[in-house]
Symmetry: C2
Subunit: 416 residues, 2 copies
Amino acid sequence: MAFSEFRPLDEQSLIEYIKATPVLSAKIGKNYDDLKIKEVGDGNLNFVYIVVGSAGSFVMKQALPYVRSIGESWPMTKERSYFEALALKEHGQLCPEHVPEVYHFDRTMSLIGMRYLEPPHIILRKGLVAGIEYPYLAEHMSDYMSRTLFYTSLLYRTTTQHKHDVAEFCGNVGLCRLTEQVIFSDPYKVSQYNHWTSPYLDDDAEAVREDNILKLEIAELKSKFCERAQALIHGDLHTSSVMVTPYSTQVIDPEFAFYGPMGFDLGAFIGNLILAYFAQDGHADPANDRKSYKEWILRTIEDSWNLFNKKFTALWNEHKDGPGEAYLPAIYNNPELQQLVQQKFMKDLFHDTLGFGAAKIIRRIFGVAHVEDFESIKEASKRAECERQALKFAKLLLKERRGFQSINDVVSAIRA
Amino acid sequence: MAFSEFRPLDEQSLIEYIKATPVLSAKIGKNYDDLKIKEVGDGNLNFVYIVVGSAGSFVMKQALPYVRSIGESWPMTKERSYFEALALKEHGQLCPEHVPEVYHFDRTMSLIGMRYLEPPHIILRKGLVAGIEYPYLAEHMSDYMSRTLFYTSLLYRTTTQHKHDVAEFCGNVGLCRLTEQVIFSDPYKVSQYNHWTSPYLDDDAEAVREDNILKLEIAELKSKFCERAQALIHGDLHTSSVMVTPYSTQVIDPEFAFYGPMGFDLGAFIGNLILAYFAQDGHADPANDRKSYKEWILRTIEDSWNLFNKKFTALWNEHKDGPGEAYLPAIYNNPELQQLVQQKFMKDLFHDTLGFGAAKIIRRIFGVAHVEDFESIKEASKRAECERQALKFAKLLLKERRGFQSINDVVSAIRA
């Protein structure tokens, strides 16, 4: 440990810290002369330093005891860093191709040293705003989601392992509470943090706050989020938690990780793709009407679910005689029954996914944290129109999700 | 602490222990001359000593590191005693009228000193076998279940409290695994511990092991049991975990307690009443055809659910502006919506209750631990007939539970 108690780093103390930490100083060949350090934390919560030397590079991510985008008035435990490091390591073991390697973790300093995702890696959301196609995105994200969710669930884990890990991640309650507030509560009530494209969406905001059926559905999803320890989920898997090049897909920032419902991760990713779709009309210009890009997004939505479904089921089949205690081989011992339980499981997960996905869209329109997909549409009336389309679809999805039989149905409904 | 390390007590060492433990010796006025000690543990797991002196009395319950009814070949953590004491204290605070007071707990010795439930208290199951009516049973049990389940759920608790307590009770994994095995697994596969009224029910046992739809349903309930931390449940609330007189109802033995689905407790109680109903024909004799007693059981089943429903909803209404984070008052702020969410919650809980209740019946017919309701029917063919009736109903309940609208429907189906 380089420092004996917590202190927020700056560029100067960061160098001191690196010098005192062998695994980090070795990464840059102990050469400090040409070291370049840049603070780039543009997320809502943390400080992120890129450290690049002639011999190597890494990223240092420090959690401060408040929400960065709001300030010290919104305290937030810096222990989140511990759970982020834990999740990065756990998910990294399960899916090393799509999770950056952790080099160093310092609990006292709430500091993670990890792989620097060098250019041309960019935040996926920025790519979606720019209209860039990622041909491997669905393939890679379905790899990541199927492996992390399957292997941390009772389909693969024993009850003993499961309860042990559930208990550990109960400690990440501060971040769970933040999610509860900003996703499941604030958009459905008057809150000082809420904002939206006013005055255009004033009536829509009020309609959400007065929609009994929507509130009934959001309560069911919130209960699942709070009570159902189904797998170690990322907990914040939107399109700014993914860094991409055309050939690489890396999932970052799992500080919200805990044992929750699988559909929350799937819904975050697919919901943010749907949201990106509805934002495209706002990005269209004479040079690019975005029509073919919208088709690519829809294909990616379809492929993400369908590939996930296929890979998750394949893992289940592969490990049906494995350590998982949910479906014991001595009971679920015939192919017809195996298919029955899988179909039921995947159908329920699909509907969870649609519900959580819808909740994720709604909160980005009325809640505290908006997204570049919409915010980059400068003309307010045009932005409001895109948001209204997304909202209309999200409300349909949240209320009628159990009627959708396949992701194909969902894509058809998006087009309609 | 009287002893510095764990040792199984006998009557001699028990007296030593009491002498060294002020709170216990005070209970009996430090008078050891006329002390009567009797080992009465007739459950499946533990050793229980009744200690009665001229000045007072108590019970000492010690957990040994194996399952008593099976022997040392089935190891079982004695730490269960810690969780039992914790649950007795927690539930006792919430419902002191129906939970015996804990005087002393010694974690090293896995030893609980608690109120002796003096005669005429008997185990409810024995009363049901004897055909005794308990006019306050439904009233008291609905008190106990509504208070313990409501106050330990997110309807009353904050997320922070909830996650803290969930984590703590994750430690009771040994007992959760035992439940998983004996209720959700063994009856549906070939197991060395299974037994049934053979040869009469041989075909029925095989039919259960080959019933795909039954296995599909039991998987859903098992998932809920393993994953859904809805409230601090008793975890083993059958009719031998309740001691009664006509005027008193006391819930004992919560060593299986953990944060699980509420319906598991409700189902255990109601399922065991249904089972008691179907056993009555085996207890009928020329002096008592048990017909009016069967009607009393059916009324008690109806009353137990209906009173629970009423009291639980009343607690919810009373505390709707309280600390619970599931349904924030700023969102669920109109009477119509409040009614909608309550109806949905209670409907889902009702169906969980029926499912878990059915599972509890099935396991008592084919699993490791049978019950006096059936075992006391000496004539095997008659016993098998009663068990077959109960089984038939339990299978219907497990498969068709979502079709039942009210407990009235259930009672009508029992009669049919």
